[in-house]
Each structure stands twice: as structure tokens, then as C-alpha cells.
Amino acid sequence: MSSHEIPEENLPAAQAADDHEHRSVAVADEKHPFADPGLPPHEHRIQDIDERAARRSERTVALLFTVSMLATIGFIASFVAIGVDENVYVWPFGHTNALNMALGLTLGLALFCIGAGAVHWARTLMSDVEIADERHAIEAAPEVKAKVMADFKQGAGESQIGRRKLIRNTMLGALAMVPLSGIVLLRDLGPLPEEKLRHTLWSKGKLLVNMNTNEPLKASDVAVGSLTFAMPEGLEEHDEDFQKEIAKAALMIVRIQPDNIKDKQELEWSHEGIVAYSKICTHVGCPISLYEQQTHHVLCPCHQSTFDLSDGGRVIFGPAGHALPQLRITVNDEGYLEALGDFAEPVGPAFWERG
């Protein structure tokens, strides 16, 4: 700190320091216009002077502890008596699990009554005379500090660490290097990214499989204004890497009147207005699919990035940084929709190597 520039005594705290440290209790002065009257005299509670009131408190506390015991018995009884799948209707909670409610309420009551009993006991029967405890400075006295410094110097001197630089430097080097082993060990936490984020299961000729019916989608099945989700043929829910693959390959299929498609490439990559877009948001990867069929906007439910599916999947609102990738599709001889290749760019959230 450069407090030498502002004189120490000019600092606000210093101005009050004397006063603060040495002020005695009962005198008023300029800084404290009203003298501290000191701790008010203790006043008795009803329980302190009336034994009957004290008895009442005792009984209340004992009652609370007794209720707690009963509640614990109630807990055990509920556990034994109520089936795990029994439901009850309780207004205003609706249909709910009877066991959960019974166990929770009895446990809550048992605990609460112990607490309430203890606090009531403390408040009404234990002494409520306020006591003042002196505080002591945290900082050590100068002689203590001097002793510690001397001890430290002696110890450091005896170790000769200041003199024998070779030992000191090699020790520091060794200590600095040894954690590297731990860091190296973390290497096998996972494989390297390589090109994995750039590719999906889609490839030329793969059929688009309707996720509702698990059947390949026909172009004629897709109506204007409809929304369908598709995955590549060959991917099964039971596959070991299903989660990983669907996280990249999930598609959303909509059909827009070709006249309404503003983007030229989008129209080219569509089949008669049937467009296939990645279902994975380009922001942070939520499955985006809140499709508004009149505006052709699709909204992400996580962070509200909004894309225009009639304009190349362009971002029109929200935190996403680039357009939704479109999959180029066509129909095969039997009228089924199929991919013309993989996505032209990585799907999902952007990353450093994306470019």
C-alpha cells in the first residue's frame, strides 16, 4: 500500500483511533455526545419470581419432549404399517404418498419438539442474566512477537538453508516437479478430441428414420407445417453408443412451402421444401425443437436462441453464435428420404478448433 503518500494521520480511521481505543465507559465527549449508561440492570422474568410460572414452563418443556417421543413412536408405527406405494388425497397437497407424508411429519414433529423444548427451557428457566466478557487483542504483544522472530531466525540459521543455496534450490526444484506426475496421471481420463466433434453418423445414402415409429420416413409422409424427428438408419436405442451418437445426429424435419424458403442453398439441400436441420443447438447443445410452424422460427428452451428455418437456420435472437447446420437430403427410388452425406460443418456448440 502506498499510504506514505496520504499521511497516515489524514486517514479517516486514524482520526478516530485514540478515541476508539481508550474511551472509558461513562463520559460523553465530542465524538460521542451521549455517555454510555452501561449495562441496564437485570430484570426478572415471571418465571424467576413466580414458582408457579416456572412450574408451568417446566411442564411445557416436558410436554414438548413427551410429544417428541410419541412422534418417534408414530414414525416407527408408520414405517411398519403404511405400504411404500399407498397414496392418499390430502387437501391442498393433492394425491400424495401416504408413507412419505406420515414419516416426514412425525420425524419433523419429533425433531421440532426437542428443539422447541430446549429453547423454551433456555428462554424461561435458565438464567437470563447478561454477562459481559472482555475481549483481548488478537495481535500478539511485542515481546511475544520478538520471541517468535528470534526462534524462527535461530531455527532457520541452524538449518543452514540460507547458506547452502544448492540444497535450497534443488529442494524447490524437486518439490515443484513432483506434482507433474499427478498431472500426467490425469491423461487417461479421456481420449483426445481429434476430429470426433466434426463427424456424425450421417453419410451418403443413410435413410432418415422416424423416431416415433422407428420406420424410414417417406417424403410423402411429411406435410407442410408438421414436425418430425429423425435419426440415421442403423442406430438403435439399445446400442452402447446410442447416447453419444444421438447427441450429434438427431434431426428435426419440417416442410416449408418452397416459395417461403428464403435461402437458396437451403432450398437446394431440401427435398421439395422438406428440410432436415440438426436438433442440437449451436449455442451449448440443448436439443432445440420449439418449432413455430407459422413463423418457421425454432426456439431453444434452454437459452432462447431463435433460428429461422426458412432462412438457412440463421440466428435471429439469443446467445447462439452461428446458424443451425442443415443436412443435405434427397429421396431414393422408393420415395424414402435419405442423406446425401454428413453435415458440412460440426453440429452443436462451437469450440476452439471449429474454425
Binding site: R45, F93, D128, N212, T228, L290, L299
Partner: protein
């Protein structure tokens, strides 16, 4: 586009569309109606359509145009089908009261018979999804768990895990699904009202829809069990956090005030 909309506004356009639609409907009926009952049905049907048209011209024509061709205030109803009419009118959304980001659900002012007449009239303008029958939307025997998975894939992104509703862009919203008639849920999936996309039978089978309805019935109805107690609106951590602060911490502070308070003194009383 311009030419088309100019033609659409031509005074005769409504008539042309109507004639085409009628012809189409008539043709369809001729094709599909059972032969022996066809005659009687057709008369009853045309009577219904006639009634529906009257209702339409009173309640709907100001926005949707005299022949359902649509105006700047309301979209064309040609081809939306009877299911759309049944959904929109029976849930009170139509007729709309005022323009806004979204037309809200409100009290329905038509009887079911009137709605059927309106639906028949609109269906006569162009083929579209029909009003589902009870066997189509009755969730009895459907697979609830499968419905849950379908719901999470197709619906939860807008309507929340258990159909409590959620926000869409610019003031629009996906409504909560509590107390919605299964029939209307079915119709909504089929027709895609307002900004909701449709989930036609071609991509989401009748079976799928039943499963979804059964799931909603299990997790978002008056009989739904919330084993943990009060569900706080089923909105997740935001309402839990609010409750934790207001009632959880509030109760703690109330107790702390009692613990720390001075006990009443004898003299003062």
C-alpha cells in the same frame, strides 16, 4: 404471389373456391359413402353444411372471409378440416376476441351440435383431417411409458415435462395441458393449431397419439399422484427455489427470531 392474392380477392373467388370445394366434397362422398345410405346421408349432410354456413357467416366470416378464403385478419380455412374447427371452436379459441401474439383458450360459446355444423361446413370447403372418433383418442390400454418417451421427444420441449406449458418467442406460448379433453389433444396434434406444428398420422401414428394421451392422463390430471407432496406447479427449480427462499428460509428466520428474542420481563407487564 401477387397475382394469386389479387385473384383471391376477386368477388367471384369465393364462389369459385366454394364450388370447387363442394364438388370435391361431393366427389369424395360419392366415392366413399356406403351406397345404400348415401342418399339419406347426403341430404342430412347438406342440411348440416347449410346450418354451418349460417353460423359461419355470423361468427367467422368477418375475419376468415365469406367463403373461408381468408383475409388479412384471419387465415384461409380451405382444407384445414373438421378437426381443426372442432379444436378451435370447442376450446373457445375461435372466434377470437382481439388480435395479439396468440389467441388464448377461453369459454366456448357454441354447442357441440353447432360446432359439428360449422365443422361440416369448413370440411366442405376442402378436404382435411376429420374429427377423431372416441376409439381413436381413448387412451384405455395404451402404453403409458411409450407415451412418455414420445412426449419427451415431440412435446415436452414446448409444453414441459408433464404438460405444464412454456414460453415461445415474442409473447407466444405453449399452453398447459391440464384438463384438456383427449379429443382436443388428438386434434391439436393432427392439425397443428396456430404456431404448433402438426403431427399427422403419417409421421405419428394413431397408436403413438393414444400413448401420448395416456401418458398425459397419468402425469397431468386430477388423479395424478405427486408422491412427494405439493408439486409447486410442476415448473422445476425456479418454483422450488422461490419456495425454498420464502417458506424454507422464511420459517428458519421466524424460528431464529423466537430463539433469540428476549423473554418477557415480569415488571413490564
Amino acid at each position: 404471389m401477387k397475382k394469386l392474392s389479387a385473384r383471391r380477392r376477386h368477388p367471384l373467388a369465393a364462389v369459385v373456391v366454394l364450388l370447387l370445394a363442394l364438388a370435391a366434397t361431393g366427389g369424395l362422398y360419392a366415392a366413399f359413402a356406403p351406397a345404400d345410405k348415401a342418399q339419406a346421408d347426403e341430404t342430412a349432410q347438406s342440411l348440416t353444411i347449410e346450418e354451418g354456413k349460417k353460423l359461419y357467416s355470423v361468427g367467422c366470416a368477418s375475419c376468415h372471409g365469406t367463403g373461408g378464403q381468408g383475409t388479412t385478419d384471419g387465415p384461409s380455412l380451405v382444407g384445414v378440416g373438421a378437426a381443426a374447427v372442432d379444436f378451435q371452436v370447442a376450446t373457445g379459441r375461435m372466434p377470437a376476441q382481439q388480435p395479439g401474439a396468440q389467441v388464448p383458450k377461453k369459454k366456448n360459446i357454441y354447442s357441440q351440435a353447432e360446432i359439428d355444423q360449422l365443422a361440416a361446413y369448413i370440411a366442405s370447403l376442402g378436404a382435411g383431417p376429420e374429427v377423431p372418433t372416441k376409439s381413436q383418442y381413448d387412451p384405455a390400454g395404451a402404453d403409458i411409458a411409450e407415451g412418455g418417451e414420445l412426449f419427451r421427444t415431440n412435446c415436452a420441449q414446448c409444453h414441459n415435462f408433464t404438460g405444464k406449458g412454456g414460453a415461445l418467442s415474442k409473447g407466444k406460448y405453449a399452453p398447459g395441458l391440464e384438463d384438456v379433453d383427449p379429443k382436443h389433444i388428438y386434434e391439436a396434434m393432427q392439425t397443428g393449431p396456430q404456431n404448433m406444428p402438426s403431427f399427422p398420422d403419417t409421421v405419428m401414428s394413431e397408436e403413438n397419439k393414444k400413448d401420448i394421451i395416456a401418458y398425459l392422463n397419468a402425469v397431468n390430471s386430477d388423479d395424478t399422484v405427486n408422491p412427494g407432496g405439493l408439486d409447486l406447479g410442476g415448473l422445476g427449480p425456479v418454483s422450488e427455489g422461490l419456495f425454498g427462499w420464502i417458506f424454507g428460509l422464511g420459517a428458519m428466520i421466524a424460528v431464529a427470531v423466537w430463539v433469540a428474542a428476549r423473554t418477557a420481563k415480569a415488571k413490564k407487564s
